[in-house]
Symmetry: C2
Subunit: 248 residues, 2 copies
């Protein structure tokens, strides 16, 4: 049985407890949290200095707190990993063996996730630890990718663009519709198909719309409809990028 | 039986032929196309002046060609509709009864669609014709929304933002990954979840990422990683918009 402890109770920590608790091949040892008092699935620890022995400690805290929290660990020479897309394992105090266990997914506490679909990007200072992390992803039935820091940063950037930015476009669209007494619901089949398409068609081939076909009448009409400077600027830049991509 | 003819053989016309052919409550009369010679499901007409009698003629051509093609129809006082999100029914020659039958969906010829999930936005000059269009959507099992021109323009703008722009973000992300020898495949579960979320969670509540949590270290690192001016500008604007949205 592989013994795992989770440090931090934000969105990622919260889902990791579910994930490991669901797996019969993992022994969920302890969950360190500043705020939580009790969880029926796992021993909750509020004092980080009393964490007991595990095979892997997974730090799920804000990027800025990784170093500080790893400094406060009392043990040495155990495997400690963080879950950040944009930080080196070197952020972890060198007294322990270090690695990264980055889940390429978006986590909200209120959302149930199909955990087996999460791709894990792993990295470790030592070969044996890399194998331990591969072993961990196998036990939870997830895909595992060996990714170095440079690649991971790019993946994180791509994730920001496809998740955070896409979601913000949904917010913008919803606001436009609500301003005209239209329900966001009407747009959902289109959004669904936008994404379903990528499983069958390369995004370069799925591109449609006024910017691609250089329909400047429509583009100018849309720019006139946008009364906020930043939104108009955003519309203009993406449209120009699309037009120039399909120029040749 | 409701008799329908389709004018134009672009992506929309192509899918409408499938859609009406699949419905037992619609008689698909004729399909006008400049290029097609034959289709086993419907009589193909290359000469627009010989279109025979239908209850509804649906013009599925580029926005710029709607007026010209409606001028060339030889008959009068029949219901002629276009499928454009950004044009008034007044683009159609006044010699016929006019309306709009706008499908809020993205169409690619190579994609099979679940037609019953397409929301149709309808508008007609006359009440009786509006009812005829409602009747048409019922026969094909689709949702029907009565939408005026002003609302329809907003819907089209929202569709451009959520479909065209979102897809372009996918293209950008794919390019970043490919430049680092990473497969776009690894990002697909995240993209899938980004969209699945909107069915359970309002997009304002689903927003995550460095811009929302004002993580300027990560934002600045990403800006340094982007070596193209327009892409950097795009990243900056959306991040600023997200940050200021969650400021209060």
């Amino acid at each position: 049985m592989l013994k795992v402890s989770v440090i931090g109770s934000g969105n990622v920590g919260f889902h990791f407890i579910n994930l490991f608790h669901n797996s019969e091949k993992i022994q969920l040892c302890e969950w360190y949290s500043r705020n939580l008092k009790f969880d029926k699935r796992v021993t909750v620890i509020n004092d980080i200095s009393i964490l007991s022995e595990s095979d892997i400690y997974i730090i799920c805290v804000n990027d800025d707190s990784i170093s500080k929290i790893s400094d406060r660990l009392k043990f040495r020479n155990r495997l400690v990993v963080h879950t950040s897309g944009s930080n080196s394992y070197k952020k972890i105090n060198i007294k322990n063996r270090r690695g990264v266990f980055y889940p390429l997914q978006t986590f909200s506490k209120t959302r149930n996730l199909n955990y087996s679909e999460i791709p894990f990007c792993i990295e470790a200072e030592k070969n044996a630890d890399r194998n331990l992390l591969i072993n961990l992803t196998k036990r939870i039935g997830c895909k595992c990718y060996e990714i170095d820091f440079n690649q991971r940063k790019t993946l994180h950037l791509a994730a920001v663009i496809t998740n955070n930015f896409t979601n913000f476009l949904f917010i913008l669209a919803k606001e436009f519709l609500n301003n005209k007494n239209l329900d966001f619901e009407i747009l959902k089949p289109l959004i669904k198909e936008t994404v379903n398409k990528i499983h069958k068609l390369e995004p370069e081939k799925a591109q449609t719309g006024p910017a691609k076909r250089k329909d400047f009448n429509t583009i100018n009409m849309h720019l006139k409809m946008l009364d906020e400077d930043k939104t108009r600027e955003l519309y203009k830049i993406i449209s120009e990028m699309i037009t120039s991509k399909y120029e040749n």
